[in-house]
């Protein structure tokens, strides 16, 4: 029997332009409905907001500093301000989201937490908050990433998390995410899945954005207070895109503020070894959302590549797809080699060793030196610190130092 043209109305708030949605197995639909409702209820509940604010202040260490970067500024020819997410507990922005979602999981009575991780920062941030709240924590991580980020594997295990190696496919974040979803489909009644980026089925992209929004809420006020003006440009690296969405969110309505996301060009956009989904992808569905995707003409997902495990993902958050198509944000890319140069520059000029992910944003600003006049401040989101990457950095950088 053919179906009629009358199809259930989609729920409001699931989409960013045409992107986003909930492309998931039927088993997960009721859990996503429940999560969606619980998130809205919680965010409207002053007690929840107070608890979230308390945890961000007392445990994460917020607000994070807004630092001047005098020597980098001299190099770029414009004042560069650093939003220091690297100073958060666990060393990256990821914990802003895991604290929020763990509080939600507690509200929903879920005692088991699932997470995927690429660079390991989200896995560490999840393991951390699970230890703090006494929740069981299972983290899926690609075998290749476990090798690249062994320090973070050790940290997760020290805090009592179970790290499950994923051997399928590319053995990186993409396959870890699929495996985490498979776990969730199996244990949905007792588990909450803490996605680490602004990807996945609704409500995750907007929920993760709203937990990361604290970055731009603080930075906007700090810029007005310290610089006496809004930034000309906000710059952040984009893999899945959570630090960028957090850094952009409260500036989206400031029409004069440019938003720039920096993707990983890997070995170059002209090769097949990059992670620049927005620059080189086409619309497709992966992990529950419609967004830009690296794929072939048959709809098979193309493996991504980046020197940075946190950017090594063939998809991107659907809100970024919309910001790109609507022209509100600009997306550029930086190669592995340029990112390594970005590490050197921020380390030597400012005494801040950035994560390889963050180094992409640093490298773009340096490449664009001269783009800004001295009265046009640039805000750079330092999404994380580079401790986890020192092995890779030493391998590539120390022989030449």
């Amino acid at each position: 029997m053919e179906t009629s043209g009358a199809v259930l109305a989609e729920r409001a708030g699931d989409r960013f332009g045409g992107f986003g949605g909930r492309y998931v197995p039927e088993t997960l639909v009721p859990a996503l409905d429940a999560l969606d409702a619980e998130f809205d209820t919680a965010m409207a509940d002053p007690a929840f907001r107070a608890e979230l604010d308390f945890m961000l202040r007392e445990y994460v260490g917020r607000p994070t500093a807004l630092s001047t970067a005098p020597r980098l500024s001299a190099r770029v020819g414009a004042p560069v301000w650093l939003k220091r997410e690297d100073l958060n507990h666990t060393g990256a922005h990821k914990i802003n989201n895991t604290v929020g979602q763990a509080l939600l999981a507690r509200r929903m009575g879920k005692r088991r937490i699932i997470a995927e991780t690429g660079a390991g920062q989200h896995g560490v941030a999840t393991a951390t908050i699970c230890a703090r709240f006494g929740l069981e924590c299972v983290v899926y991580m690609g075998e290749e990433d476990m090798r690249r980020q062994s320090l973070n594997v050790f940290r997760m295990r020290l805090m009592g998390a179970t790290v499950v190696p994923v051997t399928a496919g590319t053995r990186t974040l993409k396959d870890a995410t699929s495996e985490a979803i498979r776990d969730w489909v199996t244990t949905v009644n007792e588990s909450h899945y803490i996605i680490g980026s602004v990807v996945g089925p609704a409500p995750y992209p907007r929920m993760v954005r709203d937990f990361q929004r604290v970055i731009s809420r603080e930075a906007r006020a700090q810029m007005l207070e310290r610089a006496g003006q809004l930034p000309k440009t906000v710059v952040a690296c984009v893999g899945g895109g959570s630090n960028a969405m957090g850094a952009f969110a409260d500036f989206v309505d400031d029409a004069g503020v440019e938003l720039v996301g920096v993707e990983a060009a890997g070995e170059g956009l002209s090769t097949e070894r990059h992670s620049a989904s927005l620059s080189r992808g086409t619309p497709g569905v992966l992990h529950g959302a419609l967004s830009y995707l690296l794929q072939d003409a048959s709809g098979q997902v193309h493996p991504a590549h980046s020197i940075s495990a946190g950017l090594d993902y063939p998809g991107v958050g659907p809100e970024h797809a919309w910001l790109k198509d609507s022209g509100r944000a600009e997306y550029v890319s930086v190669t592995d080699d340029e990112a390594l140069e970005g590490v050197s520059i921020l380390s030597r000029l400012e005494g801040i060793i950035p994560a390889l992910e963050t180094a992409h944003a640093v490298a773009w600003i340096v490449r664009e030196a001269g783009r800004w006049s001295p009265d046009e401040p640039v805000l750079l989101c330092v999404s994380g610190r580079g401790d986890k990457d020192v092995g890779t950095m030493a391998e590539h950088l120390l022989p030449s130092i």
Binding site: P25, T27, G169
Partner: protein, 263 residues
Amino acid sequence: MTLPNSAPSAIDARFAVLRAEGRRALVAYITAGHPDPASSVALMRGLEAAGVDILEVGVPFSDPLADGPVIQRSSQIAIEHGVNLDRALELIREAALGIPVVLFSYLNPVMAGGEAALRRARDAGVSGILVTDLPVGSDRAREAWFGASGLDFVRLVAPTTPTERMAEIGRHGGGFVYLISRLGVTGEREALASDLPDSVARLRSATSLPICIGFGISTPAQARAAADLADGVIVGSALVRAAEESVEHALELARAMRAAMDA
């Protein structure tokens, strides 16, 4: 709000015959191009001869997040053999089956082909389509493609689906309803889920479409037990795993399931 249909589909006709004979449908899943393209055509024909009523043919996808290890592996092998949606349709055409074929896919490979891919599927002799990651209400425009394709749009129901939603799914589906027997991904299990009879009863009250039970059915005894609850049984991973050994292994399993269900 299913419109009265002008002509019953091949799947409707099959269930009508089965009802008249007092038998239950044996629905078999294979991945197109697995274990290799030529063998998968032989497998399709052999499954028809073994008494399978409806054949689900999986379109291999690089990221099959609803599938367990066996079907993941088969998809990877099929992709390595160069099988995509259009190649899958060629294999179906080549098999020239008399039983109805349901194309089983994730959304992305179908989206890559666009709405025209559904016409090509119909031309290749496909009767129905099932999309694992397009739940009712998720995408108005694309659900309408499938609804208007002339293919039966087979929808899935899970143990977690509330009864009211089951009714919506029934209204927006065709052919039969695929009842997922348990939480989790595809793959063989020791026993049927204890809440399965309750799920079947709730679904029965919500739709008049035939109900077929799938996920985890791996032995003739389980097939028989599930057949006693519903209108049909779907076997996937167990067949695909047997096909890793040989086509004949898979056909033996299908024949044993058929015999157990008809006994």
